[in-house]
């Protein structure tokens, strides 16, 4: 068996592969040139190898995404890095009004293959402006696809899928994942296994080793994987509550139909996410699930989000605002009664 690979290494390897194999690929972002290689080191080694197509830019998020859009318009495949996803707010106009709109507003499809990478989320003490999960603000924009990194999805495959959509895509990367390892060969740990489904969202299904229909199905983006699996483990060992976890690679567009056979095996469904509550991805999923499974569920979809609050810096305060393993476990346990 090969040595486990860290998620950041997998991402870095994916960017290397992209630049090596695709002469039209570019990587652009702040502080990405070697030897620094980007704030989280995703770009390490790229500029040494491809100095022409790896562009370390000024601190200009709107400009970076605009330049990426210009490259996409001329048939290239740029990957732009936001140093922190919070700063994608400064590129919102380029994403909303130019890159995504150009795909259809000129009356015929205009291919705009580009990726905006967004190091996302909290639990690292970066404070209110460097910890947010802003996925919800980008949902529902025509021709803008949202993906989230996970320890199950090989990043080279994810980048290929994103670029092949011929429309702008954002990749949300939970920052706590970078230092974790990629799961391999269908094994999560001693209790859980996983498989990749072939629905359009390329959902990873995590399930207890020998279990028939589970009590719960949990749907969550990749960043919550570790916390969700930890909650599932305790519930299984201490309360004999069985859960499966579904982690889609593509968050938007998202339709639950292809997953109905899988999710309807449980009578209880939970959607968990790191976004501040209200107007979220989880709400969109809950609505779709209610539409299809209303009469078959024992209770309404359990929706768990972060508090509708700024994300404090101090660890003990941050901990209370974001969705943690203990809260997840407690909520599932209570809703199982």
């Amino acid at each position: 068996m090969t040595r486990p690979e860290r998620v950041i290494g997998n991402l870095n390897r994916a960017l290397h592969t992209l630049l090596d194999d695709d002469p039209r690929a570019y990587v652009i972002g702040e502080d990405i040139a070697d030897p620094y290689g980007g704030a989280f080191k995703a770009a390490r080694g790229l500029s040494d190898r491809h100095p022409e197509r790896v562009i370390s830019s000024p601190i200009s998020e709107g400009g970076i995404v605009g330049v990426a859009a210009g490259l996409a318009l001329t048939g290239n495949h740029p990957v732009a890095e936001m140093m922190f996803s919070d700063f994608a707010a400064l590129a919102f106009d380029q994403l909303l009004n130019f890159a995504s709109k150009s795909v259809s507003m000129y009356g015929r499809p205009v291919p705009m293959s580009m990726v905006v990478r967004c190091p996302t989320g909290g639990n690292r003490g970066y404070g209110p402006t460097h910890s947010q999960s802003l996925q919800k603000h980008f949902i529902g924009i025509p021709s803008l696809s949202l993906y989230e990194m996970s320890p199950f999805h090989d990043n080279a495959d994810v980048l290929t899928a994103m670029l092949s959509r011929e429309q702008p895509s954002m990749l949300f990367e939970d920052k706590t994942l970078y230092t974790r390892t990629m799961h391999q060969s269908g094994v999560v740990d001693d209790l859980f296994r996983y498989e990749l489904l072939d629905d359009p969202s390329r959902t990873a299904r995590v399930f207890p080793v020998d279990c028939a229909d589970p009590d719960w199905i949990i749907l969550a983006p990749g960043g919550l994987t570790e916390r969700a699996v930890a909650a599932m483990r305790t519930l299984l060992l201490e309360e004999e509550i069985t859960c499966e976890l579904l982690v889609p690679s593509r968050l938007y567009p998202f339709t639950v139909e292809p997953l109905l056979a899988t999710v309807s095996r449980a009578r209880r469904i939970c959607v968990a996410e790191d976004s501040a509550a209200d107007g979220t991805w989880g709400e969109m999923l809950a609505q779709q699930l209610h539409e299809h499974l209303w009469r078959r569920l024992d209770r309404p979809v359990l929706l768990l989000s972060a508090q509708p609050s700024v994300i404090p810096t101090a660890a003990h305060l941050e901990h209370t605002v974001l969705l943690q393993t203990t809260a997840l476990r407690r909520a599932l346990s209570e809703a199982s009664q």
């Binding site: 022409e52 562009i55 830019s57 000024p58 200009s60 709107g62 400009g63 970076i64 995404v65 605009g66 330049v67 990426a68 859009a69 210009g70 490259l71 996409a72 318009l73 001329t74 048939g75 290239n76 740029p78 106009d93 380029q94 009004n97 130019f98 709109k101 150009s102 259809s104 507003m105 000129y106 009356g107 015929r108 499809p109 205009v110």
Partner: protein, 326 residues
Amino acid sequence: MVSAAPHLIGGSTTATAITAPQPRTGAQRLSRLPAEDLDTLLMIRHFELAVLDLFSQGLVHGTTHTCLGQEYIPVALYALLDEGDYVFSNHRGHGHYLARFRDPHGLLAEIMGREGAVCHGVGGSQHIYRDRYLSTGVQGESLPVAAGVALHLRRAEPGRIAVVHIGDGTWGEGAVYEALNMAQLWGLPLLVVVENNRIAQSTPTERQMAGTIQARAAAFGIRHHHVTSHDVAAVRRELSGVIDDIRTQHQPLVVEFVTNRVGPHSKGDDSRPAEAIRHAAANDWYRRYEKQHPEQFAAADRSQRLAIAEAVREVQARPASRWEHA
């Protein structure tokens, strides 16, 4: 230089607007142009007048911005471009489109949502994409995009350039400076064409811009060229060298035209003092060309007026455009 009244922050047009320096172009001689250039100028003029007329009759829906008085800019400039150069236009783009494609039917159909519309009626007056020509309606947004295109051209098609049109008011947008910075840092063949008509919607330039465009370009180390002439032939002579330079030397350039908005910002929304409007009209290349070359003008003007009237009749009679989308 007369500055805005000190007690007024922001504010709208007041009499101070007309005391701002005006170009002394009224007396300037306009060269006699080859028929093709004059025809394009007049095609644009009559197209814009027809659009305003259609609006006032309630036959067009939405909004439009005409380039009355500024027609000579794309006509002069585009003779210095080739098909491989990209042009990014803005809200005031009919003249740019017509100077590039001489296709009043396709553009009018786009504005009126009729069959044969360049973008099937989805984009309308200010969102057009055809070949290497693209316009969009958010001020300043296209500068970073044009910089990205210039980055591509520099590597994949050296010698070609990206041209982006903006107004004076658009220098209020941060995107402009992000793009200028990158263009100069990375040696991008980007031509920023500023059509400084000294007003943005209702706000005179001196109420919305501190300092000058020239000094702003200089702050980035970017060459700036001031064009005060409204004479197509003179403008071309003036610019051909500097545009050649950016093709071969891979560097950006800001060309600032001092120009005149003869019509309203959009339609029926001209709040300028009467004197300012009269001044713009008196400097209009159209009136001056008519005076200086009466015979050539009369025949060409008549034929373009009729051609546009015919295009309006023909396009109006077409069925509605259709949009097939996923």
